[in-house]
């Protein structure tokens, strides 16, 4: 067996979508008021990484690209069992779409000399799912997306995965290094242990990295390096629904008949 694997996990802080509301008067989004939480699919990414640690003794580092206020997601990751956490933060990153975001995370992959970079399926605030394949493409690494289960093969420097494909599944073996995107809900995330939690909350300080330390030029990231721009936002006219509660199945059957749907 080679040295223990270094496993990075990409985690992102997102607004709690149950909290994001639309101001009925102005039609704008009240995003700022929403509580900030760990992107739910990233819990599955963390669990997959911690299982690799259990199975092959990996060193697991959670990384987040975001403002310093995103540190709580790293604390949570450390409380769950990650060995360390890195905050990647720089004014130069402001306005980055998925292209510079995946570039930055790719450079972090190189910086930590990662063998495996595990992500969630997608984020609930941008929901593109493009960052993991983007990281793999920047680095020219193998990629495994929509992963149900990982099967490490350290003796061959390979990682196998069962992936979800349309109408079934496939088992794919990738040569290291590799980027993984775990399917949302595919594993049962563990609770955090008490000792780790106390450590995470009281002692843990994230590794801090900026663009320069990752060897990133300011013009490679941020708004100017983002190929896509939001050209406009329109409030979608909500679909009008009757919202009629019926007292009995008889009523429902009769109503559907009247509407000529049955």
């Amino acid at each position: 067996m080679t040295d223990n694997w270094t496993v990075l996990v990409g985690v992102k802080q997102v607004p709690d979508e149950d909290d994001v509301s639309i101001d009925p008067d102005t039609g704008t989004l009240n995003r700022a008021e929403a509580a900030a939480i760990l992107n739910p699919p990233d819990k599955n990414a963390l669990e997959a990484a911690l299982r690799l640690k259990d199975e092959v003794g990996a060193r697991v580092i959670a990384v987040t690209m975001g403002p310093p206020t995103a540190t709580p997601v790293l604390e949570l990751a450390v409380a769950l069992g990650c060995d360390d956490g890195a905050l990647i933060s720089d004014y130069a990153f402001a306005g980055s779409d998925t292209w510079p975001t995946s570039l930055t995370l790719a450079r972090a992959g190189e910086y930590f000399d990662a063998d495996v970079f595990i992500c969630g399926e997608e984020t609930t605030d941008s929901s593109t799912g493009q960052v993991p394949p983007g990281i793999a493409a920047h680095l020219d690494w193998a990629q495994l997306t929509y992963v149900e289960e990982l099967e490490p093969r350290p003796e061959d420097d390979q990682l196998a995965a069962v992936r979800d494909v349309e109408g079934g599944w496939e088992r794919v073996v990738a040569d290291l290094p590799v980027v993984v995107a775990v399917g949302y809900g595919e594993n049962q995330p563990r609770p955090s242990g008490l000792h780790r939690k106390i450590y995470a909350e009281n002692e843990f300080e994230p590794i801090e990295l900026d663009a320069e330390e990752l060897g990133i030029d300011a013009d490679e990231v941020g708004l100017d390096a983002s190929p896509t721009q939001v050209g406009g936002m329109d409030t979608a006219s909500p679909v009008e629904r009757e919202q009629e509660l019926l007292d009995s199945v008889d009523d429902l059957a009769a109503t559907l008949h009247k509407q000529e749907v049955v």
Binding site: A142, E166, Y184
Partner: protein, 339 residues
């Protein structure tokens, strides 16, 4: 960043997603929508079907019959089954050589895996999960996508980079029937060899897939069914409806992924959508909001699904489904309740 001369780029490409000769229906949906886009493009631009795989003669022929002016075919065993690394390398080569202006890709697991992989090296602008496509006055692609649980449609543009790429969920657009094939097939040079690949597919188990996007009636089940499909299937039978599911029911293994409705599944717009034991999460609603009549059956009166339904019954789904199935399946009983 290197400046990109966007005027050098032309044509609209549609990625024809194919597995062992079976074409994902979304590819044909996109080919049909792309024909409308062509109306706002220059006369001499072409609609190109990009076919990567093995033994693609029939696929290329069908693509022409479904409206493509040209089929670009990369035919080689290295492309079967799909893997991101060889597909990505081939695509990059074709983009560098032919400079497409727009590339449309189905929002399936494979399509998203592919799109994310290829957008980066070409520095393309990629918009995920679009529900509306258009071309603006300056010839840029306008890609509309729902944001914040469908409350907002954001229009994404990519003015300074090419190609302009978008993924579109299955079921958003309608496929047109094939007609007379009229166009050219170009076999392109395959630039990938097996020994360069970094992944290997060891096993692949794929069964028959169902296309729920054309169904006129749908009975969709959610977490509330607790693994017991019986009552919902009975109702689907009585209604002559197709069975669909929330992601919860799919992830629990009760229903196949091909029947999933929502943001990471399919978009459906049936005449009747019956949500059985589905809470009504935004990711689910995004896939069924265009249905004509929506019925919700749920034992929690506060389930958000009721706000997005025309008619609701608060009650135990096992009882309600069975009773409703009996009523509908039995013309005499139905006559009685109508009277």
């Amino acid at each position: 960043m290197p400046e990109v001369d966007v005027s050098e780029y032309s044509d609209v490409w549609v990625f024809i997603e194919e597995h062992a000769g079976e074409v994902a229906p979304v590819s044909w949906e996109l080919l049909s929508e792309a024909q409308s886009l062509m109306e706002n493009k220059d006369e001499d631009e072409e609609l190109v079907a990009l076919c990567i795989g093995e033994n693609l003669d029939d696929v290329a022929e069908e693509a022409l019959a479904r409206g493509a002016d040209r089929a670009l075919v990369a035919d080689d065993p290295v492309f079967e089954p799909y893997r991101a690394d060889p597909y990505g390398k081939q695509f990059r080569h074709l983009v560098a050589e032919r400079k497409p202006d727009v590339v449309l890709i189905g929002g399936t697991s494979t399509g998203r895996d592919f799109a994310g992989r290829v957008a980066v090296p070409t520095h393309a602008g990629l918009t995920a999960d679009c529900t509306e496509l258009g071309i603006d006055d300056e010839g840029h692609l306008e890609a509309g996508r729902p944001a914040f649980g469908g409350n907002v449609i954001a229009t994404i543009k990519c003015e300074n980079h090419r190609p302009q790429m978008a993924t579109i969920r299955p079921g958003v657009f309608e496929a047109t029937e094939p007609a007379e094939a009229d166009g050219d097939v170009d076999h392109v040079e395959v630039v990938v060899t097996e020994d360069e690949t970094v992944t290997e597919v060891e096993t692949r188990e794929v069964g028959e897939t169902v296309d729920i996007t054309d169904a006129d009636r749908i009975v969709a089940v959610g977490g509330g069914i607790e693994g017991d499909l019986g009552p919902a299937e009975m109702l689907a039978d009585a209604l002559d409806a197709e069975l669909a599911a929330s992601r919860k029911a799919v992830d629990s293994g009760w229903v196949g992924h091909d029947r999933q409705v929502g943001q990471t599944g399919k978009s459906v717009r049936p005449e009747l959508y019956v949500a059985v034991g589905i809470s009504g999460a935004v990711q689910h609603l995004e896939g069924m909001n265009d249905s004509e009549v929506v019925v919700a059956i749920n034992n929690d009166p506060n389930a958000p699904m009721f706000d997005h339904a025309d008619y609701g019954i608060v009650g135990d789904l096992f009882e309600v489904c069975e009773e409703l199935a009996e009523q509908i399946g039995n013309p005499e009983a139905l006559q009685e309740v109508i009277a």
